[in-house]
């Protein structure tokens, strides 16, 4: 069974004046969206908390945000670029892999956080009511800040290798993050439901997420698949990363059609994720 907490302005129900109604309820409704909006300040505080804690020692915080993708870039450039000699659409391999890694890390860390968020915040979730969706969203906001610092390295690389992004390439970036966000949250929220039910799933998840990098064109371009390129592009992150490279590095023209497809897939994933999450949220406080 479920619940509805409807925050209604008195104007809507002048006769009764009730501000909150709690009753069993089954599905997601528009009231939930309105409720999210009324709690936006808490979203800010959750994000603020994580950013504050992470960047308390500013220099170390930033260094850490840069270190992870940079290290991965160095290792990947050596293993996949040098040893395996993977193609990189005519760009230097380090900048090719780093541009992919930036979006990939935002996606994968948002995904893994969203999938464990209910369990890791159990102490708050069982004591106070607020729309639980705030938690994974706040996590993603924190990840955006990490990505911001990590992208400074990309700017450095672009200057070093002499790349000038196109205007479209810059303008498209917020949308690419939005698509990544929806895909990560959608999948993450579905996994969080499984995670709440089967508490051992979280031990498998990190490996699962790590493996996903191989079906995403981070270390290789989609063109590598030849005639089967379209299969790779069903992965919403594929078009996102390819478009970022097209826009920033001019590897190709932006493929608007496949970007639209991945936006649609991400959007659907997001909606399904939210619905599944709402269902989990209802009984979560009872199973912990």
């Amino acid at each position: 069974m479920s619940q509805l907490i409807a925050t209604q302005k008195e104007l809507h129900k002048p006769l009764t004046g009730w501000t909150k109604i709690i009753r069993p309820k089954k599905t997601f409704s528009l009231e939930d969206l309105r409720e999210l909006w009324t709690y936006r300040e808490l979203l800010y505080f959750f994000a603020w908390r994580d950013i504050k804690v992470k960047y308390k020692q500013t220099v170390i915080g930033i260094a850490w945000a840069i270190f992870q993708p940079s290290m991965a870039m160095v290792v990947f450039s050596f293993v996949f670029g040098k040893l395996a000699n993977l193609p990189s659409d005519g760009t230097p391999y380090p900048i090719f892999v780093y541009s992919g890694l930036l979006l990939w890390q935002f996606f994968s860390s948002s995904l893994s956080d969203a999938s464990t968020t209910l369990v890791s915040n159990a102490s708050i979730v069982t004591k106070v009511y607020f729309p639980r969706l705030l938690l994974p969203i706040a996590d993603s906001v924190t990840k955006l800040v990490d990505t911001f610092f990590a992208s400074l390295v990309l700017i450095g690389l672009m200057i070093y290798y002499g790349y000038m992004p196109s205007l479209t390439g810059i303008l498209i970036i917020p949308f690419l993050f939005l698509i990544s966000f929806m895909a990560a949250e959608g999948a993450g929220l579905i996994l969080s439901a499984i995670n709440v039910k089967y508490r051992d799933v979280r031990y498998i998840l990190p490996y699962f997420i790590q493996m996903l990098i191989f079906i995403t064109p981070v270390i290789y371009p989609t063109s590598i698949a030849g005639a089967y390129e379209w299969v790779l592009k069903l992965n919403p992150m594929a078009s996102v990363i390819e478009s970022a490279r097209a826009g920033l590095l001019g590897t190709a023209l932006i493929d608007w059609q496949s970007l639209a497809v991945s936006a649609t897939i991400s959007g659907l994933l997001f909606i399904i994720g939210v619905i599944v999450f709402k269902k989990t949220e209802r009984y979560f406080a009872d199973v912990v």
Partner: protein, 422 residues
């Protein structure tokens, strides 16, 4: 009068699984599908047909009552009566299975102090974070910041990360934030049970002040009858998930204490668990069964039990716990007589005398413990306990110490030898 909380037919159902406890592991499900496919399918089928071995347990059944604006309502009941579940439903943490609650006004809940405190953040930062979690806007917190810091009494450490705080400081700060919430309706659960006596007093004082603020409606769940009778005009008594009584606080507390007494004296002996049957368990002083114990005389604990078959590594005895649930000491028959570790079938009566002037005055709980060391314990799901209140010895010049944590557990039953030298 204006009704601000209207509770209609609220029920909450929980499923108790017979074989599983807590959460389910996916590997267990997978292994049962692979290795015991038939019993798994049978279980699923039973589930669908509604004949599973799951037991359905109604934590709350058909709760109905209204709360008027400005009322301070107490909620009491024994453990498991549904008090916390009711509060969780009212706050929205868990949904009801049936019924409906209508609420008018801004609600804040206090199920715990310091919810969401982050150890890495400073005191001040945590005030904002905790305030936001409890439903205060940033503006509200800012306007109350000085009051909050002042009330907590830890101005000097307000810019220190709370991980460096002592637990006392932590609780002070946390309560201080909570005490400055200004919702229309406040739901409070047992938070006064924290901190030392002095701080508890301060909290009660603050609660008094809050309750007197015009128009503030409060629902207050507690085991502390003093606090309830002091703060609440009317009180709800919950018994096994139902409202047993909703009336003036004095009447409700009287009824509660009476039923508690009856339940305690009506422990149905004998109780059997496997090979062991307990026939009686009692506390007495001067040959009279009582739970009001005078500190200047010894008290006696007696247990009557019988054993159906010969047992090895057998131990029978007691735990003595203080009001915080700490085991102060324990004692077993076999502590001083090893031969009884291998016990013959039969009926036994064991009694233990606890000397006068040994324990600190206070509330105690004696739990009967019977087990075979390393193999099995008895009466673990159905504890056999007796409580008693130990009063100060008449000649004991007790200092009214405010700080319970510095009182210790034992009395040293001799007098000081003191001489005046010059």
């Amino acid at each position: 009068m204006e009704t601000v909380i209207s509770i209609k037919g609220i029920g909450k159902k929980y499923k108790i699984f017979h074989k599983q406890r807590g959460y389910v592991a996916l590997r267990d499900v997978i292994s049962s599908v692979i290795f015991k496919p038939f019993s798994y399918a049978k279980g699923k089928a039973k589930n669908i047909l509604g004949r599973s071995t799951k037991e359905i347990f109604w934590a709350l059944k058909d709760i109905n009552f209204d709360v008027q604006k400005g009322e301070v309502i107490g909620v009491i009941g024994r453990n498991g009566a549904g008090k916390s579940t009711l509060l969780k439903i009212l706050t929205g943490i868990t949904p009801p299975t049936t019924g409906e609650v209508r609420i008018k006004g801004k609600v804040a809940s206090l199920l715990e102090v310091g919810t969401g405190f982050h150890p890495e953040l400073t005191g001040k930062e945590n005030i904002f974070l905790n305030g936001a979690i409890l439903g205060m806007t940033k503006k509200e917190t800012e306007s109350k910041l000085n009051q909050i810091i002042e009330f907590s009494g830890i101005e000097r450490f307000i810019d220190t990360p709370v991980k460096r705080y002592s637990s006392g400081m932590y609780v002070r700060l946390a309560f201080s934030v909570a005490a400055h919430l200004e919702p229309d309706i406040l739901l409070v659960d047992e938070v006064l049970a924290v901190g030392d006596a002095e701080f508890q007093k301060k909290c009660l004082g603050k609660m008094d002040e809050v309750t007197k603020t015009a128009g503030r409606t409060i629902l207050f769940v507690s085991h502390n009858m003093d606090a309830i009778s002091r703060l609440c005009k009317k009180t709800v008594l919950l018994e096994e998930g139902e409202v047993a009584m909703f009336d003036d606080t004095d009447k409700v507390i009287a009824r509660y204490l009476q039923t508690k007494q009856e339940a305690a004296s009506a422990t149905p002996f004998p109780v059997t668990d496997g090979e062991v049957t307990v026939r009686d368990f009692s506390i007495s002083q001067e040959e009279k069964q009582t739970n009001e114990i005078a500190g200047e005389k010894p008290l006696n604990i007696r247990m009557d039990f019988s054993i159906a078959q010969k047992l090895q590594s057998f131990r029978a005895g007691i735990f003595i716990k203080n009001s915080l649930g700490t085991v102060i000491t324990r004692s077993f028959v076999q502590d001083w007589d090893q031969t009884l570790e291998s016990i013959e079938p039969g009926t036994y009566a064991a009694s233990l005398t606890i000397p006068e002037r040994l324990l600190r005055p206070g509330e105690y709980l004696v739990e009967l413990k019977i087990f075979c060391s390393g193999t099995r314990g008895y009466f673990e799901n159905q504890r056999i306990e007796k409580d008693f209140t130990l009063h100060s010895p008449k000649d004991f010049n007790e200092m009214q110490s405010k700080n319970t944590t510095t009182r210790g557990y034992f009395l040293i039953p001799t007098e000081w030898n003191i001489q005046k030298n010059g």
